[in-house]
Amino acid sequence: MDAEQAKAKQKPRKAGFFATVFASPPSILTLMVPGLGHLYLGRAKRGVLWFLLVEALFFAGYAILGVRLWGGGMNLGTTVWGLPLNYIPEVGNFLTTFLTLKATFPLQGAPGWMDAVGLAKLPVPWEHVGFLLTALSGILNVFAAADAWWLARVEKTEGEKDPWLSTPTGAAFLSWLVPGLGQWKLGYKSRGTVQFGSITLLFLLGLVFSDFTAVDRSQVYFWYAGMLFDGGSTILSTLFFAPLRFHNTGSTMWDLGVTTTCIAGLMNVAVFLDAYTLAEKRKEAAP
């Protein structure tokens, strides 16, 4: 057997996660600037829509918060290296978050730095809404990057003509918003119902354990990033329960509540990735 035959016999290797994401200019570009990857692919209209949506969310949140936005994660530093850890999930919209931070917050030790730190720690009215909006900008930009990746993949073959919600990214988005909804729409109704029931019940249990105060980003900044993967429940809980007066008396039940709501969000990652996979398989099987 010569070398060519041996080569032909080898199975084509499937690209791994890092190769898939980081070797894809459209998704990297969109993670940097919303819609830039779509522009790169020649889908300007879709790119502009993503850009407007994500940036509108970010700057609407910033209009409410001001420098308070930087108060949550500043303990880990405000350099570019700390950014992916400090400002999750805003960092999904990387360049906007980084440039706004650099433009509005002084460097450590620079004149005015101590005042800015004080202001960043000071609560502002409606901050729960502001924190929610900036966080949503990061999450939605991750969906925009996934959309750019999907478009880059199908453009090579026949192009994507279907409505956005029927693409894998659309199915994942639906399941992010309501656990199991993407599966339900694809026809996997019992699977979607079980996923919705288990994750929503888990989230509700967390709320009950914590006297409905777990979903408050100003109190549980990093946990909130996990909760937000269960989009609909977190949005509703933030709007209705985050303004409630907060009593943490050291109760272990409160801790359990925060952990349980966060785990509900993280479990929903498995659910919306499942919706993505199901929709992708359906597209691949389509003639």
Binding site: V194, Q195, I199, L205, T260, A270
Partner: protein, 63 residues
């Protein structure tokens, strides 16, 4: 104590259900699979905990 064990089982089962829902097609099979997996991994965790406790008793704080 009983309350904590029941809470653990309830939360654990819901997590297991959310994850294993994608493995099975019918809800009854999902309920069964998630309960069995939860019991299996709980048993492994308890065994591992006991083994670590035993090693500590034997070698680190024997008295």
């Amino acid at each position: 104590m009983i309350k904590h064990v029941l809470l653990f089982l309830l939360v654990g089962w819901l997590i297991s259900l959310a994850y294993f829902a994608k493995e099975e097609d019918s809800p009854s099979r999902v309920f069964r699979t998630s309960a069995l997996k939860l019991l299996k991994y709980t048993a492994w965790t308890v065994l591992l905990g006991l083994a670590l406790w035993g090693l500590e008793k034997l070698f680190i704080y024997p008295f």
